[in-house]
Amino acid sequence: MNTQAIGGMPEITYNFAYLDEQTKRMIRRAILKAIAIPGYQVPFAAREMPMPYGWGTGGVQVTAAVLGRDDVLKVIDQGADDTTNAVAIRGFFEKTAGVATTTSTTEATIIQTRHRVPETALGENQILVYQVPIPEPLRFLEPRETETRQLHALAEYGLMHVKLYEDIARHGHIATTYAYPVEVAGRYVMDPSPIPKFDNPKLDDCPALQLFGAGREKRIYAIPPHTKVRSLDFEDHPFRVQKFAKPCALCAATGVYLDEVILDDRGGRMFVCSDTDYCNTRQEAGHRGEMGVPAESASSDVMPGLNPGIHAVPPGHPVQGVDGRVKSGHDGVPVESGREGDAS
């Protein structure tokens, strides 16, 4: 509960987690229905939230509805705890619900996410809340909502494969790399929100409850714990995830999703974990990548929970000065492309 006196105005008070109790009940009913019918998009009366559409209004409403006073909340945006969206939403719930927040995946009981699934395996006591911009996987193939509902109702998903067919015909392989359609519990085809397809296998048989909220489109859907989630594909073009040629430049992790960070205008770049918590945890445990910070300087000048790769440039690699020249470090030798497309 937040109270504040502004001048002579009455105190502003928020209900716990901003939404009123009736609204939360309504959202919970939608969530229960969504859990009962895995992958089915349940309509709900999404409210106006004090943030613009596209900033996670759907996810925020789902989080508000499932949040309890003892919960520990983590918010990530593209895997990072320290980007605008994540900071803003974390601050929002600190202010309106007063719940504990964390950047640690293992400590959190509710994780609201935009576009990533954490690298650390989730547990049974956790809920993962996705922010969804477009819940309808068939949207760009069939613009009529009445028709897509029919297609879902009758499980006519030939159209979804037309998209994959087009990918192969045009690019020689399935070029869809994010929002890759999945079939949930052998029935509904679902858009897993714009997570990289790298994360699709994590949805399958996940012990955590996964909830998806689309605020603008007013839809909620869910994957209950331990549900079969299959990425669609062709027999002769099976589903594959992205592969990376190099490990994380900061923590040397392999088999994780990496972000490309441009370092200068001479082709200098590094590939670092997109999951900042995972990367930091590994660095604290002493793992060092080729551009990693030496152990003693890593923890002193960088705030915990922030990715040193983005906020503090580690010594020993190039920094671009105002004049466009490399000022320090070795002479920006381009790192060969760390990311490899689909091997198809």
Binding site: E156, G158, V162, E166, I168, R170, F234
Partner: protein
């Protein structure tokens, strides 16, 4: 004819408020038969086609279809799922405007393959091979398989639409003015192609046209409509050469001799 009818319509009527779309139409279509529905604009041809293909709900009457297991089923009694399955496997619908029958943003191969994927084909290589085969049958060069229909001429689009419909080897195809809007030489080639495919595959076709030449070239039997009702039916040659009704006589005599 000793065979049993494929499609039976009994007393079909459709009212649009006080206006009559279609009035008490009964007809039968047999396997492998081409039935032409002719008449002037506004005579209820397209309404009738809509009723037969269950795209419109009749105000009265019913349509029955012989399923693959030989049972004659009332289409209104089928569930939505069963009816849609029928439409995308056992039936085809070739529309006058190819943009209504094709996915214009999807490549030719995707357009032909869609029905295959809808009935469970999940092998890219096989789908592509089948699509190529069908493009060949409708005289579209194989190297156009990855072009989308927006890059096709009107005649090609219409042929692509035919391939897309025939790929699941339907038994009954509805055609609504398939040659409308095409120039005469393209029309002739398309008609030739339709005639050849119909004979090859033993398709039953219900073709709606205002063009008596199309009816004469393609159909075995024809139905003449006026003001929503059927005024004359019979073998095509018989109706065109020896029309009984004054209106049919007028229609036949109004065709310009080329």
């Amino acid at each position: 004819m000793t065979e049993q009818p494929l499609l039976v319509a009994e007393g079909l009527s459709k009212n649009y408020g006080p206006r009559i779309g279609c009035r008490d139409v009964s007809l039968e279509v047999y396997p492998g038969e081409v039935l032409a529905v002719v008449g002037e604009s506004g005579s209820g041809k397209s309404t009738l086609l809509g009723l037969l293909s269950t795209e419109l709900d009749p105000s009265a009457g019913r349509v029955s279809y012989r399923m693959r297991d030989g049972r004659l089923a009332d289409l209104a009694s089928l569930g939505a799922a069963e009816r849609r399955l029928l439409m995308r496997t056992d039936w085809g619908f070739v529309r006058q405007n190819p943009a209504d029958g094709l996915r214009m943003a999807v490549s030719a191969g995707g357009n032909v393959g869609e029905r295959l994927m809808a009935v469970g084909w999940r092998h890219y290589g096989n789908i592509r091979e089948e699509a190529l085969d069908w493009l060949g049958k409708v005289e579209i060069a194989g190297d156009r398989i990855d072009d989308d229909p927006r890059a096709f001429s009107g005649g090609m689009r219409q042929r692509l639409q035919i391939a897309r419909n025939l790929v699941t080897r339907p038994r009954l195809v509805f055609m609504d003015e398939p040659t409308g809007g095409l120039d005469v030489s393209v029309q002739a080639r398309l008609l030739d192609l339709i005639r050849q495919l119909v004979a090859e595959l033993g398709l039953a076709v219900i073709i709606v046209t205002h063009d008596l030449a199309v009816a004469r070239l393609l159909s075995h039997r024809m139905v003449v409509m006026r003001q929503g009702g059927v005024i004359e039916t019979g073998l095509t040659d018989q109706v065109l050469d020896d029309p009984r009704e004054p209106y049919t006589q007028l229609l036949v005599s109004s065709v310009l001799a080329a």
